[in-house]
């Protein structure tokens, strides 16, 4: 089994390496100090299992799982017990609390091995729901682009556009594609900041410059950078409710 270790603390990685040395049939293919490296490693080296810390700089363990969870099994390794429920919601194989014993790690490895033999794919929506604490609004969006990851703070998003099975997050003139539905995106964004103005568009109201009437009953939103977006009749009502 190919295993990658992801932890921002060197000592924690060292400990895992030492423990794993005693597990038979385990090959450590990579050690990553942050989430970005982890996504790259999953893309390039296709490990079977990630031993994944949760609290890491810029891209946390749940965000990594959201991006690569369909391709690899994950065992969370953390000092925090409050994420355990969320971890199993997203079908993590196991959840190790630091500090842990070598036997406990071996148990997790065995669990991963039987999961590998069973081979099941994970549902996308559940993975994306995990990237944010329950009840809180999304603060940043993690988007995978091959082996690279873009992290966009939601305040930098101008608008979100539905494109078939994907949504495109537009920020400063660039678009970032992510496999998700617009309804899912809408449900995790702060509704006082982001308004569904159209079947295919969610607008960050800070970017709105003005509204134009361009046919009977239909409006267009003009953004600060000049972009024109259609506004449906119900979208117009929602927009008015938020802008008051």
């Amino acid at each position: 089994m190919k295993v990658a270790i992801v932890d921002d603390e060197e000592l924690a990685r060292k400990l895992l390496r030492e423990y794993l040395a005693d597990c038979e049939d385990v090959q450590i293919v990579a050690e990553c100090a942050n989430g970005f490296e982890a996504v790259k490693v999953v893309t390039d080296l296709k490990p079977d299992l990630l031993l994944l810390d949760i609290q890491m700089p810029r891209l946390d363990g749940f965000e990594v799982l959201e991006l690569v969870g369909r391709e690899v099994n994950v065992v969370f390794v953390t000092a925090y017990d409050q994420y355990a429920l969320r971890a199993f919601d997203v079908h993590a194989v196991d959840y190790l609390l630091k500090p842990f014993s070598p036997e406990r790690l071996r148990e997790a490895i065995n669990r991963a091995r039987s999961r590998l033999e069973a081979k099941q794919a994970l549902p996308v929506a559940e993975l994306s729901a995990a990237a944010r604490p329950p009840g809180a609004h999304l603060e940043r969006v993690a988007i995978r682009d091959g082996a690279n990851v873009h992290v966009i703070p939601v305040t930098h998003i101008d608008y979100v556009e539905a494109q078939d099975d994907y949504v495109s997050f537009h920020s400063a003139g660039k678009g970032f594609l992510k496999q998700q539905t617009l309804a899912d995106v809408e449900s995790v964004l702060d509704p006082s900041q982001f308004v569904r103005i159209h079947r295919s568009y969610i607008l960050n109201i800070d970017r709105l410059a003005r509204l134009e009437l361009y046919a009977k009953d239909s409006h267009a939103a003009i953004l600060r950078d000049g972009t024109r977006l259609p506004v449906s009749r119900s979208g117009y009502a929602r927009l008015n409710a938020v802008l008051k």
Binding site: E9, E18, K98
Partner: protein, 340 residues
Amino acid sequence: MYAAAWLPIAALLTQVLVRGGTIGWSEAAAIVVPMCLLYAFICQASWYLCNAVPLRESDPIRLIASHGTAAAVSAAGWVVAGGVWAWLLGAAFAIPGIDSRYVAQIPILFVSGVLLFLIAVAFNYLLIAFEASQRAESKALELQVLAREAELKALRAQINPHFLFNSLNSINALVMTDPLAARRMCVLLAEFFRGSVKLGSEERIPLGEELRLADCYLDIERVRFGARLKIERDIDPGCETCLVPPLIMQPLIENAIKYGVAPALQGGTLRLHAERNGARMKIVIENPFEPESSTKRGAGLGLKNVKMRLANLYDGNARLDVSQDNGRFRVELQLPCCGN
């Protein structure tokens, strides 16, 4: 103020006497106005009576009897004094028949005297109740402050369990590869926990002790974060003896690590600075800050607690300012330097 409140009463009483038809305006006013001023003082004395016979705790019969008697006695005395004054006026300004005209007003003056006295009693009871409620309110506020302080004390004594778990994990990793470092970590950890419990139970400690605790904490975190955590320390030795509330810096330093250094990919430098300026001192805690990477959730709580403690302990004589620019997050404390 109080005497001025009696002027309308004097005017009213004058009018009542004139309406009686047996006395003229000027005469009535000349008698009533000084009488009212005198009565203002007599009625004020009812405050003592009200205190002696508290409304809630006294028997109603005793209440009525004591106030009724007092009202009758003071009204009678007042009317007699009025008579003497009328006679004096008559003698001094040679006004014939003024005393007999006064005698005709005695019943109405007596009744007014009793009523005014009773109104004064009611007013005094109201005043006493108002003062009592204000006292209760300030007492409640004081209790609230005490309760908050106790709550903060409990919070301070509570040790962050994740810090402990992560440190134990580091020791676990060091045991095989670097036993000496593992041993050193154990000692540091024990020192830190012992120190925070001890300092947390004190009222005021020298800043030097707080800084030693911080050093202990940072030494442990340095083992965990390795090269990602760099520390710059610039402490004016004159500050070390200043007395400060215990663990006032510790939550700020923990915040700086948790929300500043830990979320940064490359880590960064934590800067501690303290300088003394005569009777005041300034403490600065600065850390790197990546606006797009940090979720600030929770960071505000520690700051709010420290701010509240300073407000409670220094009564507006201490400040905590937070600023942010150029990727640096900066917390500045300004405190009076007690002790030497």
